[in-house]
Symmetry: C2
Subunit: 679 residues, 2 copies
Amino acid sequence: MTGSPALQPVDPRAVQQVLDGRWAHVRQDAREMLGTPEYAVVHGESMTEARARISALTAKLAATGQVGLAFPAAYGGSDDAGGSVAAIEMLALADLSLMVKAGVQWGLFGGAVQALGNQRQHDAYLPAILSFDLPGCFAMTETGHGSDVQQLRTTCTYDPATQTFDLHTPHAAARKDYIGNAAQDGRMAVVFAQLVTQGQGRGVHAFLVPIRDADGSPMPGVTIGDDGSKAGLLGVDNGRLSFDHVPVPRDMLLDRYGQVAADGTYSSSIENESRRFFTMLGTLVRGRVSVGGSASSAAKVALEIAVRYGDVRRQFAAPGEDREVVVNDYLVHQRKLLPALARTYALAFAQEELTSTMHDVLIAEEPDDAAQRELESRAAGLKAVQTWHATATVQLCREACGGAGYLAENRLPGLRADVDVFTTFEGDNTVLMQLVAKGLLTGYRDAFGSLDGWGRAQFVADQVRETVLERTAARGLIQRLVDAVPRRDEDTSMLDRGWQLRAFEDREQHLLDGAVKRLRKNAATKRDRPFDVFNDVQDHVLATAQAHVDRVVLEAFVAGIERTPDPAAKALLGRVCDLYALTTIEAEKGWFLQHGRLTPARAKTLTSVVNDLLRELRPHMRTLVDAFGTPEPWLNAALLTEEPARQAEMAAHDAALRRAGTEPQQAATATDLAVAPAQ
Amino acid sequence: MTGSPALQPVDPRAVQQVLDGRWAHVRQDAREMLGTPEYAVVHGESMTEARARISALTAKLAATGQVGLAFPAAYGGSDDAGGSVAAIEMLALADLSLMVKAGVQWGLFGGAVQALGNQRQHDAYLPAILSFDLPGCFAMTETGHGSDVQQLRTTCTYDPATQTFDLHTPHAAARKDYIGNAAQDGRMAVVFAQLVTQGQGRGVHAFLVPIRDADGSPMPGVTIGDDGSKAGLLGVDNGRLSFDHVPVPRDMLLDRYGQVAADGTYSSSIENESRRFFTMLGTLVRGRVSVGGSASSAAKVALEIAVRYGDVRRQFAAPGEDREVVVNDYLVHQRKLLPALARTYALAFAQEELTSTMHDVLIAEEPDDAAQRELESRAAGLKAVQTWHATATVQLCREACGGAGYLAENRLPGLRADVDVFTTFEGDNTVLMQLVAKGLLTGYRDAFGSLDGWGRAQFVADQVRETVLERTAARGLIQRLVDAVPRRDEDTSMLDRGWQLRAFEDREQHLLDGAVKRLRKNAATKRDRPFDVFNDVQDHVLATAQAHVDRVVLEAFVAGIERTPDPAAKALLGRVCDLYALTTIEAEKGWFLQHGRLTPARAKTLTSVVNDLLRELRPHMRTLVDAFGTPEPWLNAALLTEEPARQAEMAAHDAALRRAGTEPQQAATATDLAVAPAQ
């Protein structure tokens, strides 16, 4: 229907191979070692039961070697940061509570000790961290400051007389909050606080602080609260920490980026306080990459459940036929599931590329500031886009499974509740998208400096073009594809990859140019209202960030297709990429029409091309979810086994009635619209 | 900024008065009688605890007289169907589990006995139903048939020898499922089953069937299952019912629309089986109206929590100032909350109008078929639109409250989980929107007949215009407003109400015309594929239904403003209506551009007019949520009391530091974008 050769049947394993990517061995290990019912979610647990089970499972997981990949080989790890992301994405397919618990222990807590601590601290703590003998917390967020972490109000003041820091929570808003491992298991915490020494604030630093003694009682001066029941993630013991002048020995400062001598003299290799802080944060980028990828795992599981259910579930008879229609055959059901599936594929390729870039940046001999800044921007954008996508996708899958989707036994409620907070933690998505926009506006140079008053708009404008046009993946191929499209593109097929790429690029470029122009104008006309200079274009700036991430994702998809060896799999992925590209353009149709990038006639064609793609991909829906390679025990949705059995039994019963000459209930048709009230 | 006089401060009570509407007395009674902490949600309960509490509270509620409004005065009710909807909307502000439990008992179960039963049955059962001494179920949906209830597979076969029916579940897919009151409390159930008598199927009928004895044990032949843990609504005991040849006495058929004589002779005043069934269902329309309105209650509570939090919560400093910025001052935060708030207002007026229409149709002396069909279509569309809106709104409010929004103590997780299934029960929203479309396509005539093969497309086309142009509210006023707009509207202000109304109307008309044309064409060209005739335009047809509901809602809003006595309140509501109208057009900008209804220049103006409206409405956000009149104890979100106290303490602490000459932490600015990793 799309003018190309019809798609051939595809072996899901050929697609899985491409999705598994550079860390295929890590993913396969996880399937083989952990792909059992023991690691599957348990439905309907109380918070107490869930916490106990997840704590025990986390300890067990520690022994598998699946969790320490990112740590140095000297401590039992594999020096494999990318592998650790792949491993946690696999855990997320099984259970998001387990994934978060592992992420807190080995990603945030262990990762902070590794990235911010010194050799002595590594020797002293990393082995017990890896083995989970020392469960720990990452205590950064405060009740009053989450997004703006530079403004944390907890203080840690050095006293040369005692050679200790005084860690203190000055008021309720400075309480550490939402801290995983705090309410139940944590023995130590990496606490972020404003370092004060010799009467001078030095900005936020991290301190290693015991919070419970060997009996599990809070240490003197430490008050531990429980965040209690949450929307989801019941197995994670989030809590609150307050410190009442708690003494912290000098050598418990994680001092890689800032040192305090015995006499209180402060030293650091990075002079600028803001820059120092963001350098410290930058070492923790792996957490954000893990969260984005794990959210996508939730989307994959939800789609597999909804697609498989929709392939057997029937409702309303086809006109003039005995059979009831399988719900995946309805156009509007395809309109829900298939674009979400296509976007999940696109994001999987983008996540793979991000993980790979992260790995290479982290193992590089020479630090590359520009690469680090770009990595952080990419991690922020993909975290936001993947977590929003996951929330929306799990929701649509819940609705696509009807009442069954609301029962805990069918997995979707738990997935929905667990993944919800992913849009908030590791950075509120809206704030992260602003971070992406800021990176674009400053051309990645000085990405974390202040843009106070936006006086630099002129500078910004000069930087823009080279930045945007920098390709992110498969540079040569993409340039060739784009170059091959004629400038007057009315006659170009919308399935032309170069046309799609250029549409995405064009949108990003135009939005960015517009944002810069408006900021420059505001900087001139709103000098007396500096807040409004930025705030008045905030929506425009965020749209720019979205367009940028969309383009990065499309380029990663194109590069992923290029790497696919199996021809049938490659053709299928090509069509999925078409659907991602064209539904993204369709969602922004207003912009493309408004800016003369689509004529009304082309916009109309777009709708029918998308619908043709849905029809073409319909027979491959099951293949596309099978290719995620999720171990069957992890799916753990009753309807996956029960609905096919029920449908078979009903069909046999209907057939028996027909043989006996008693018709089954006269079929209503799919165009009839009887609907039951609720119960 | 919008060229109109600036808005004056408004007393929320002046707005509340308009929102409270025709059943203000019912709403005020509920506030006074039930507006206590006892009726507020309890956070973090187990399912067992929630069920016990809600059952006890339901019994208590029975004694208040708030739940029987719809029943005849002879049985202790008030013959006030509209009032009963207002009452249940109030319960939904307090606790959605309680609302659903009450809805099952007095809406569905009691409502079915009332609407489908005879005088003797009323006398025998209604008193005990009203007092909750006889808790009951509405057993319609089966595991295998939810949307297509005409195809239920449970059978009820009459045997003249014993003068009993034989109620039977032939296979697992015919099991009654998701049935409220079934798992724990129900003593009887209204069971919908295929009636067979004298060897002939008579279609679905309702039977009153005891399911538990006085001790609470299942009756012989009745198997009761528990749906167990769900996403939300933990206080509602949903369960499953199967029947193994259960004998049902002849007089337990609810026989208002179909009677079986002792010898098995069937009689009915409605000959056509389908028509009879949908007439029966039509008497139950109150359930759908209640569900839509209750979902909107959830949206109101969520918005009040998010708006009040956003009015005190600060994050990032304003450039060049000491103060941190209140999050409601960010344009993008306004872009999230205010359009949702405007739409909530719009839907409130539409719901009020729907309830009023329903009430008048139900009390009419002479049944009016056309009015009944239109009511059912309106109820279906508003149920779908309100429940989707509620799910999306609670979600955005959750995200707008950040990590705090994820904690059970802050109410939003429970609201989110509870309201989720509202898009599914009382009819899957997508199926309901098809019902609306079908109503439009057939000009409300023969609305429930089959459109098999769509051979009637010609007939359809003839019906279209008069149907669409039928005004739904404030007919005269709206016609005058529309007529006053010049046909060439490039120069008309987008704040002109007539322009807005015409844009909505125009879109609906054009979509409907297009759908009819495409269906006619398909009927001719796809004769051999009757399923595809309809399925290929399903997306177009659903867009038509959406446009129709949007227009109905806007007209109701306009009529509501017209009824507002207080001039300041009227002006404010006018601006809120502008925002609803223009953000709806903005969301469909692609369509308006594609069809030449907006020029690119106008589309650009649209964005800035919307942003101006956000700035203009910003100071009134609090007024707009206060006007919902939700009793403070029902809000029950810890952050509403704790965050203002925390902010005050932090401000006092910062001020003390300044007085002492020690600056608080140097303020980062709102354009800086530090972001904490997750914990």
